[in-house]
């Protein structure tokens, strides 16, 4: 089969690989019909995530058709169309039973930091990902959700990660009606966090991003106020946000950027260029600085282990509540499917590019370099074209 494989930092290529096999009675093999490139795939591409091995396949956002069914699977049969959460979850461990499927303790032998994740290095369990023609899906009775007959794969594809991630971010912010929410980042997750903030009754949503076309997109898609780095004197975004919020700060700040944030020369140099810490902590520091005292700061951007220069002292002294987690997608899928169906969230509306899987490397470049006003790029395997 064709698959996008990692060859080293900034080197990926589509090549032939043996198709995956059933390895556990509750596995299914999925024929991928749509798969997306995620912002967090870029951290892998740049070699920032430890134990990313040459030859592994990326991709944790995908939908497809069940091709082969393990003997222990009861809820899926060959031919079913499903969308799959990026978390691999057993369904019955301490965490899964409490709704925290993103923290499952039965699927990742390598690290105690997360559940197993498709195509995201050996730090999350060493699973091959879905940017391929076929993918092995463990615990098929737990994660996958059948796609309703009247809906397309693209309409529901983002239930796999970015939509639950954005929604859970807004939820962790404990937004009360009328509150002011600042979302750092107008990438796909930031866009969905902004939209979810409105759904939760925010009175004001302010989006921050250095890239002009992404701010334009956020305004058109979400009706938010926007702040670009150029809007702030000397690039001082935090001071501008403070001014916009009566000098007090926002009630809720959400970091939807993660470890490759721009905006601070020192952070970018130490974290991204010299790799002396796990990426740049600019977005989380700005979130802490622009949040009002006793407000909520939410962290959903991806940071690799082990450490970052985060202004934890200010967070303590301001009495902030810091909340963060990988999205427990499974719990959000039915509710968000409903929002999509009712037209409250046009999830596929953020797709700007559809690229054949064969040209996945070009698609990564397009997305990474933010060419051609790219927001979200979907890969189409040859058999699904």
């Amino acid at each position: 089969m064709l698959a996008l494989t990692y060859r080293g930092p900034n080197r990926i290529r589509v090549e032939k690989k043996p198709a995956p096999k059933l390895e556990h009675p509750n596995d299914v093999i999925l024929r991928v019909t749509r798969t997306a490139i995620c912002g967090s795939d870029l951290h892998l591409l740049h070699g920032l995530i430890p134990d990313t091995r040459v030859g592994c396949v990326f991709g944790h956002e995908f939908a497809g058709v069940v091709e082969e069914v393990g003997p222990g699977v009861v809820s899926l049969t060959k031919g079913d169309r499903v969308v799959v959460p990026f978390n691999i979850s057993c369904g019955t461990c301490f965490f899964c039973q409490r709704g925290l499927t993103g923290n499952c303790e039965n699927t990742n032998p390598s690290a105690n930091v997360a559940s197993g994740v498709y195509g995201y290095s050996h730090t999350t369990g060493g699973y091959d990902g879905g940017q391929a023609e076929y993918v092995r899906v463990p615990f098929a009775d737990v994660g996958p959700m059948k796609i309703p007959d009247d809906m397309t794969d693209e309409q529901v594809l983002f239930l796999s990660d970015i939509l639950p991630t954005g929604y859970q971010a807004a939820e962790m912010g404990e937004i009360k009606p009328g509150e002011t929410v600042v979302v750092f980042g107008c990438g796909p997750v930031g866009l969905f966090a902004q939209r979810s903030a409105w759904l939760m009754g925010a009175g004001r949503v302010i989006a921050v991003d250095p890239v002009a076309y992404r701010l334009d997109f956020a305004r058109a898609y979400n009706n938010v106020e926007t702040v670009g780095f150029e809007d702030a004197t000397g690039g001082d975004v935090v001071s501008l946000l403070m001014k916009m919020t009566d000098g007090r700060g926002a009630d809720v700040c959400i970091d939807a950027v993660g470890c490759e944030a721009e905006g601070s020369v020192a952070q970018s140099f130490l974290g991204v260029k010299a790799k002396l810490m796990a990426g740049s902590a600019t977005a989380i520091n700005w979130s802490i600085a622009a949040c009002r005292k006793a407000g909520n700061v939410v962290l959903i951007g991806v940071y690799g282990p082990p450490f970052n220069a985060v202004d934890i002292g200010s967070a303590m002294n301001k009495g902030l509540t810091l909340r963060m987690n990988q999205a427990n997608c499974k719990r959000y899928m039915p509710k968000l499917l409903d929002h999509i169906r009712e037209g409250r969230i046009d999830a596929e509306g953020i797709i700007t590019h559809r690229v054949p899987l064969e040209h996945a490397a070009d698609a990564y470049e397009l997305f990474e370099k933010k060419k051609d006003n790219c927001i979200k790029c979907v890969l189409v395997p040859p058999m699904a074209a």
């Binding site: 080293g8 070699g47 040459v54 060493g126 091959d128 009328g178 719990r331």
Partner: protein
């Protein structure tokens, strides 16, 4: 729904604004479910274990492998040895991650070497052979002269 939410919905900036205004409408509240229950259609208490292929690296402190794990790219070569060393260090030590990151770079170098080795080895062998032959010839000549 309180009056603030209703007011918000009148100036709705997007369709459905405020619809999840109350905490009860939010599917992940509270973050930890108060009454634990299996997720999805899990029909086991303890999941069945996958057979251990013998080379899976597990973190320090984990008694046995998790029931399910990924099997992409077994450790190999020098980078594999480095990874083995890394997984003996608990992950709350920075050195665990630094050794893994170093192993990642070595893995890339090994992969590049493997790609060029089929060309480099015969060329180097030929070079050594002809070099020695040429040198031997001059050495004999020198002796005869």
């Amino acid at each position: 729904m309180n009056s603030q939410v209703e007011k918000q919905m009148q100036i709705a900036p997007i369709p459905g604004a405020g619809v999840d205004g109350s905490q009860e409408a939010r599917p992940g509240v509270p973050m930890e479910k108060e009454t634990p229950e299996p997720a999805g259609n899990a029909h086991w208490l303890t999941p069945q274990r996958m057979p251990d292929p013998g080379w899976i690296q597990k973190r320090a402190g984990l008694e046995e492998l998790t029931p399910v794990f990924g099997t992409t790219v077994p450790p190999r070569g020098l980078s594999g040895l480095m990874r083995r060393a890394a997984y003996r260090i608990p992950e709350h030590f920075t050195s665990h991650w630094l050794v893994l990151l170093a192993a990642d770079r070595v893995d890339v170098l090994e992969d590049r070497l493997k790609t060029i080795l089929p060309f480099v080895v015969p060329l180097a062998a030929a070079g050594v052979y002809f070099g020695v032959r040429a040198q031997r010839r001059t050495w004999w000549r020198a002796l005869l002269a």
